[in-house]
Symmetry: D2
Subunit: 380 residues, 4 copies
């Protein structure tokens, strides 16, 4: 790690390695590229090394994304002494091996969520992180939205009093068409279905806002018991595209989570409602620059839900835009996340979900699945 | 019943008796008054007899609401041969005795929901209705909204394909303030809480749209374990202001119902989402003149939820307003309901929830409460 | 007028005559029927006499709408000593003759808007009202919406500081189809087009909220220069389906009004935005139970437009519904208007637009048309 | 310009110079940085040279933003043979001198809008562009929103038939507080006020969608005639924070534009409504990932405005996000714009507003101001 002295503080120019260049890999690359100009308070990370499935692809992508070296063997990247932090953006099944190797090589890790298909692997990853003493962050970027962070601030201030209940819906429609051909997402080997496919997002958000779930009880459902295959037959669907979940948090907070990847017309809905003794907060990811608050204040004749647009007063929106209401994009959350990863690496308090917290989320996912199987509440 | 000949059909001028003149009593009176001018296809009902707690109040209210006779003894009203149909709008505890007496006296009955606090009483009411052969209707007026009826039509036409899942939220905030004094709605004698207080509304709507629930599993919650009393102490709350319910309907339709009477800022929210294999329907009672539909049709680049405003093409809106988008009110649903009651009395097919269907709703309510108590699914 | 003594005040049972039984006639009849039960503070008006185009229709409608007498000659109704107030709901061309005759006969008049196609006739009506000393009210019912009245209260309280600008859009789509056959609304004899057809509604609302316009400048437009006729030809359109208007009010308040009866998808839009030195108010008639307010108050991080649902705290909603957020309908505004007409008749302060104020509105309409013709500002 | 051969086409690695590093400068830098990875079809531009007010600041910013060389004298940058295109993001008053010098030095120019305070200077810029034969683009980034571009596509396809009228509102609230101290935006030397401050944005959008305005007539207004100064006095405001404009386009299209920089609660509103013979399109920049369309199609009972979320099917959203409904941000429009600038430089058809089209917009601004001054229509 190159060290330079700027003013009073020691700033390190971080060496970045990137494994994987699919959509998320590109997203990491762009975030590493933009984080310094956007925030203006850190040294530009150096894009050191990029790994892809083969050397040619790696070379091409390194050029496009601005990385200095490239390799078809990710172990080379991990062995590179110039690399300080490794972005892992490969399919989930590769996460454990790569993350553990990187941590063991003394690198910091920024790994896309979820941790691993098997809980035992996730546990090994968390253990490797603990042992290494390195920063190990999961890519739960929704929690980086300035408005989600502002919700956290409002709750910490008791702006809606004591929270007593919560609801989250997360819906998309990429599995909504029963005529679409059977593919791997309907195979049991891919996991439970909507629950682990994207249920981890609501869990990550709730985790940062309310702490972990304590008891869960769920009903997983298959909207389409079979799906057609290419040869014109029907194959039985093995995963659940829908999950309806009852949750209990600490302090008597009750909740409900509903997930569907077969909800026609929903594209990126994460609708959150948090009810407190003095008010209500509502949010929908499809309008990620708006927050709704109802607070008991002022005259009854003018009480109502306020629609708040993200503004410079909701940090770090101010690092992106000088005027309110102009709108952040989904990809920009990753730039904020990169800044938090860097904060964690510098030993500052960071707003992240690390491997230990991530493990709790994965544990909750499996508990929810068990509650469905057994038809009764599962305690965490 | 006066009979007159108008054109080819025999039209009867219905004699109406009204018991109770609180908000709902007034609502019934106004509906009986308006139903003939609004619909223009029936004889004006005669407002014959009104009963209240005492003769003076009865006389005053009869004058105000336009009834001919008045009485402080509701049994006199039921004995009145001029009365053909009895509107019962008294507190729930009185429903069984009054409804059964009216039915036994050969009167048709239009009774406000729910049937009765005790399930056994509801059963007696349903039995009395069966034996009498008279029309016995419950005042579930939300189902009369032209848009709710239009949803039914759309489902019947498979406009969104085969329905596979559903969600309903019903929220108000009249119990949201923890500093409000303990009153009877927090006593166990009043029932379970949000569940029977207004959970019957979502159940009535789902019942007409999807049929009855088959299995239920619920988590009832108390946002405020105690509430203050007038003498400055705290009293333990005995009812549940929140209910989170998992539901399974026939044909593998899965669902979730969430109820809260402690949801700050929600005033009359009944948010319904119905997901099908070809589309989604959404509705919120707080915007009762709007319906949202997402249907897979046309180019992908212009697909989205359509917001439909009630219009003359959604009967019987046309009876109220000649132009679209001008807005029906909640009270006007009762006029539609009155027309349906009259249709039932004339032996026509009517869009109502009668005592038999009402009994299924009440049974579901109790099953939900049992599922919470026992922590497991209850089959209906 | 029957007089009775109730408590300390003299209450009169008002005798009502109704001329015309189209949609608006029915609306008046229902309002006269419902006003006493709804408000509970007045004697039930007596539905005395109904006039229609011929005696048969009149008799049939009198029966349906609950009137005692009927006639095919409206002059008989006006001569009836039992009639105290005359509802005039006939086509606009008949308003002057009927209203003037009624006023001269000493009756109060409740006449549907606008006053008359010709400004000279409107002037004669206003003069007749002045001379008669009787109550002469125009049926501008949008101003009766509890939320519109609440806007008035907010402005009077300077809740958004000093108003400096305003915008109103009124749009429907009943003339939006260029393939629809030419009919009388495209003939010059029907007036200017959107301007007088429904532009009077925004003017009536602005008039009660901000006072009359002082200067106007407009661009009237024909979206479709010709329309097809039944014989397959095209006929030149003589009226303007669109009007874009610049307005100046007293005290430097600037404004813009946009009208279109060819705005596909708009069904009853009256979108109002009022900007003040301390906040903004927004309203749309298509969501007539919602009001938006932005006020500078509290922390900047939670400022935003509040969506207020009509509630009992917005009188006279409380006379219709005991709970907030349940929704009034368009027709119910007429019941509120009936109460105001009765208030005016009893000599109380009433929230109405009388013939004198109505004349100012009609004058403004003509001034707007002249500003278009002359291409320059017109001062009122 | 380095040239390399990739596949069949000649790709040039563009040398970029940046003058100015305020918010817009940073935005250009980030766009130049991200454009290649995002689009994946072009060579990464080289960030060659950065100029700022002095050498120190320039050096610091060059490091932060990733530029190789830096200078305190922008003329050095323009003389640099490695620089192919110059981003000009300085205050408007500097645009003419810098843009003309850059063009005369044979550089392409990407200059922030508007062109220049004085129309004569804008004319000189346009002339320099014409003579140079170089690409000269103005930074009108709203037109790059995939949804605004989709509106253009829809209009070109006659998706809403023939357009007959249009409305645009652009509102912010940075001048809404009458207690805020007088500053340069209230001085006549800064221009007309809202009109040139941000009115050029609606004009740029309308220009790409409908072509240039042909006649204009406006009312400019001062919501606050005076504003306080630091010494406790009041100073007369010389600019107009509000502009209400009537517009006529070719083919009888009528329109209205309303601008306010004193509209409390509006943060980045650009509300567009386009009315056609077969439908309506509506858009609001505060919800820049949503588009509303009403089209006459299907059954009347399900017609309504559709809310369309940006999706990969609306290019180039697909270059940023693989899933629909996840949301682009305002800053990302600049990346799209950078791609279009590069397209123009390669001689491809590009979606830009060049200096010639920009001149028409500036001309329209001045015509609007004249129409206000003279109180009559101005023809362009």
């Amino acid at each position: 790690m190159d060290q330079i002295i700027l003013g009073l503080s020691v700033i390190t120019s971080l060496g970045v390695g990137l494994i994987g260049t699919g959509y998320m890999g590109k997203c990491h690359a762009l975030a590493w590229n933009a984080v310094a100009p956007v925030f203006g308070d850190i040294e530009r990370p150096r894009l050191v090394h990029l790994a892809e499935a083969n050397a040619d692809l790696a070379a091409k992508q390194a050029k496009a994304l601005g990385f200095g070296k490239s390799t078809g063997d990710w172990r080379e990247l991990i062995a590179d002494p110039e690399v300080d932090v490794v972005s892992i953006t490969t399919p989930n099944a590769f996460h454990p091996e790569m993350a553990i190797a990187a941590l063991e090589a003394g690198k910091h890790v920024w790994c896309e969520k979820p941790m691993a298909p098997a809980f035992a692997d996730a546990e090994r990853m968390a253990q490797a992180a603990r042992i290494s003493g390195r920063v190990a962050v999961l890519g739960y970027n929704y929690i980086q939205n300035p408005l989600i962070r502002h919700i956290g601030k409002l709750l910490a201030e008791s702006a809606i009093g004591k929270v007593h209940s919560v609801r989250v819906e997360m819906d998309e429609d990429f599995m909504a068409d029963p005529a679409a051909l059977f593919y791997w997402k309907s195979e049991a080997s891919s996991g439970y279905g909507a629950l682990d496919d994207f249920g981890v997002h609501p869990l990550s958000i709730l985790s940062t806002l309310l702490g972990p779930a304590q008891q869960v009880m769920a009903d997983l459902a298959k909207p389409f018991p079979t799906r057609p295959t290419q040869d014109g037959k029907d194959r039985e669907v093995e995963t659940f595209d829908i999950a309806n979940i009852l949750v209990r948090f600490a302090d008597g907070v009750s909740g409900a989570i509903q997930l569907s990847r077969s909800a026609w017309g929903r594209k990126g809905r994460i609708a959150i409602q948090i009810f407190g003794s003095q008010g209500t907060i509502a949010y929908d990811q499809e309008r990620m620059n708006e927050l709704q608050i109802f607070a008991r204040e002022g005259r009854a004749s003018e009480q109502g839900f306020r629609t708040i647009l993200t503004a410079p007063i909701h940090p770090p929106y101010d690092k992106f835009l000088p005027a309110p209401g102009h709108g952040l994009g989904f990809n920009e959350l990753k730039i904020i996340e990169a800044r938090e990863v860097m904060r964690a690496i510098s030993g500052e308090t960071a707003h992240i979900i690390d491997f230990q917290q991530g493990l709790v989320i994965e544990k909750t996912v499996h508990a929810i699945a068990h509650s469905h199987r057994d038809g009764c509440w599962v305690r965490l």
